[in-house]
């Protein structure tokens, strides 16, 4: 395989219900930096049915080219027609880097496509940069330049590893939502548009979608919150979460929680922060009655300011908190809410 034939930084522009997911713009933002280092450009790959109208939005967020595969088979996400489309684009256009969001779609599409085009895939990356592999010269081994270095947490957040894919192309990564920064939207910016269709022939791998059931009501996304007031087992009951909600409301924030809260049925899983929940990085994170197990900390430690309230002075949450209150949350939280109401005139 001639690795030098592979050029350009490509991102998978995820859309759901013909609306582009935020992760697509975040990937373009990071791809622009990588492309600048490699002296190349950024191509967004848009797959769907009747999606051509979404091209300009990708351009306005920085895509230089958009490859569109528009086909009725791609109306709703299914692994097979989507993997066929993306793998065909890779085989036809030969990108040097292919980035995919680490979403419930991307973490299915990415592995399938990487196996189909026989390359490596690094999951859930939080840092991407261009550099040398090996990082330092090693006697008897060629040091390759301009490699994609992909950094990711592993082991429940206990370790971080930096991974390269030196001998296969494209270099593929899935990237955690909410970590990379999107560029400011540049109204009227245009991209070169390439329409491509590899042809779709349904086979046994095309599953049948019987039903699409959306979550009832509008679930607010805790990943978008600037302020999160998060409660744990120590809150004690579903009823007591009202106190957490009141504090969140007065601050204009959202409620989130630890895994124990979900397991007790006090809040649905959409509100869970941590290794098996969501990764959040709000401006302020209140950890109330949360002991701070490593799995929880992995999902919130990048928050700008962490405030912990816990009655156990040895709780590990205090190891990551900027400000820690050792005390009874049942007394401190309502009093804090009242003080904030008075201060903010609410």
């Amino acid at each position: 395989m001639g690795l030098e034939e592979y050029k350009g930084v490509y991102i998978y522009a995820q859309q759901v219900d013909n609306e582009i997911s935020s992760i697509a713009f975040e990937l373009i933002g990071k791809a622009k930096e990588l492309a600048a280092d490699l002296n190349t450009d950024v191509t967004a790959v848009l797959l769907g049915s009747n999606v051509k109208g979404l091209v300009d939005e990708l351009a306005e967020y920085g895509a230089d080219k958009v490859i569109v595969v528009d086909d009725p088979e791609l109306e709703t996400y299914r692994t097979e027609p989507y993997a066929h489309a993306l793998a065909s684009v890779i085989n036809e256009y030969k990108p040097e880097i292919m980035l995919v969001g680490a979403t419930a779609i991307g973490r299915d599409l990415g592995p399938t496509v990487s196996a189909r085009v026989a390359t490596g895939l690094t999951a859930d990356c939080t840092v991407l940069e261009i550099g040398d592999f090996p990082l330092n010269p090693v006697a008897g081994q060629e040091q390759k330049h301009n490699q994609l270095l992909m950094t990711r947490p592993a082991f429940g957040g206990n370790t971080i590893a930096t991974i390269a894919c030196p001998d296969n192309r494209p270099q593929m990564a899935t990237v955690r939502p909410g970590v990379m920064q999107k560029l400011p939207k540049e109204a009227g910016r245009k991209a070169e548009v390439i329409e491509y269709n590899p042809g779709f022939t349904p086979n046994n791998r095309y599953v049948e979608i019987l039903n699409v059931v959306k979550a009832v009501g509008s679930v607010e996304n805790i990943m978008d919150a600037k302020i999160l007031v998060s409660g744990g087992r120590g809150v004690g009951s579903k009823e007591n979460f009202e106190m957490i909600k009141e504090l969140a409301d007065v601050l204009g924030g959202m409620v989130s929680c630890s895994r124990a809260v979900v397991e007790n049925g006090w809040l649905p899983v959409d509100y869970q922060v941590g290794q098996t929940g969501k990764t959040v990085r709000p401006n302020v994170y209140f950890a109330i009655g949360i002991s701070g197990a490593i799995q929880h900390v992995a999902g919130m430690e990048e928050s700008d300011l962490i405030i912990a309230i816990n009655k156990d002075e040895d709780a590990p949450i205090f190891d990551v908190a900027d400000y820690g209150i050792v005390g009874d949350l049942n007394k401190v939280v309502p009093a804090l809410t009242a003080a904030l109401k008075a201060e903010l005139g609410k």
């Binding site: 082991f155 030196p166 791998r205 059931v213 002075e313 400000y323």
Partner: protein, 260 residues
């Protein structure tokens, strides 16, 4: 029907994490459990067995001590167990791992393959879909409910804000979420029987249609450039005050940081 459940022995991430000099994980030095998503997958298979009858085979790739999780699976009710172990398979990334497991599965009859969504050590969620790709099977990831319907399965496939009810022809591969069910405990009789049963042990030579260049550390497209323990930001201030003083303290800090 025949179901194969792929399970993995994983270090309990609550314990300490250790590395070999080459940056790969020193799994031998850590406490080991059956990966939670895989255990839910096994439970799903055992429930199908209870309801409509099935032969359940568990398969793992790992060090010889991974025998422990196979015995646990037998004690829960699995019928057969296969351990794929060989020095040349060590240090594999998800590509090489899925290639290996696919090579083992080519020796077995199956209607349904179940894997966990992801393991708690790597957290990649890649091996299940990659096995399906190597075997040319339909894959349904992130399953929160599984029902067998004749020659098909009907699965609730979870997404962030919705689920799809999906029907796939068997044979197919499903990756299971730990939310799928509450796995059963081993029974005392089951534990006793588990140690009487044979665990089939396969090595490199038993893998079908697999090239050496796709196995182990050497056959892994992804290479570790560096690995290290996470450097955490240090603890900040911790105060023990009464409720009123705590509130004053927090209000001062929130003003100082321009939150209010």
């Amino acid at each position: 029907m025949k179901i194969v459940v792929c399970i993995k022995q994983v270090p309990d991430t609550k314990g300490g994490v250790k590395f070999n000099p080459d940056g790969t994980l020193d799994r031998a030095a850590m406490l080991a459990i059956m990966n939670p998503d895989d255990k839910a997958g096994l439970e799903a298979a055992l429930r199908i067995k209870d309801e409509i009858g099935a032969e359940v085979t568990v398969l793992t790739m790992g060090l010889p001590k991974a025998d422990d999780v196979l015995r646990e699976a037998l004690a829960m009710g699995a019928d057969n167990a296969i351990l794929v172990t060989d020095r040349v398979l060590g240090g594999a990334d998800t590509w090489a791992t899925s290639t290996t497991i696919a090579g083992a599965l080519r020796n077995i009859d199956y209607d349904l393959i179940i894997t966990g969504r992801q393991a708690i050590d790597g957290d990649t969620a890649q091996v299940g879909p990659q096995i399906a790709e190597h075997l040319g099977l339909p894959v349904i990831s992130y399953a929160e409910d599984i029902k067998v319907d004749g020659n098909s399965v009907i699965v609730k496939r979870q997404y962030e804000d919705r689920y799809h009810e999906v029907k796939a022809q068997m044979p197919c591969l499903i990756t299971a979420l730990s939310e799928l069910n509450e796995p059963r405990y081993m029974t005392p009789g089951g534990i006793f029987d588990a140690y009487d049963k044979e665990v089939t042990v396969w090595g490199r030579a038993d893998l079908k249609d697999v090239d050496d260049s796709n196995l182990g550390l050497k056959g892994s497209p992804t290479k570790i450039a560096k690995a290290s323990d996470k450097v955490r930001k240090g603890a900040g201030e911790k105060v023990t005050l009464d409720a009123a003083e705590s509130v004053t303290y927090l209000m001062d800090k929130l003003k100082e940081k321009h939150v209010i």
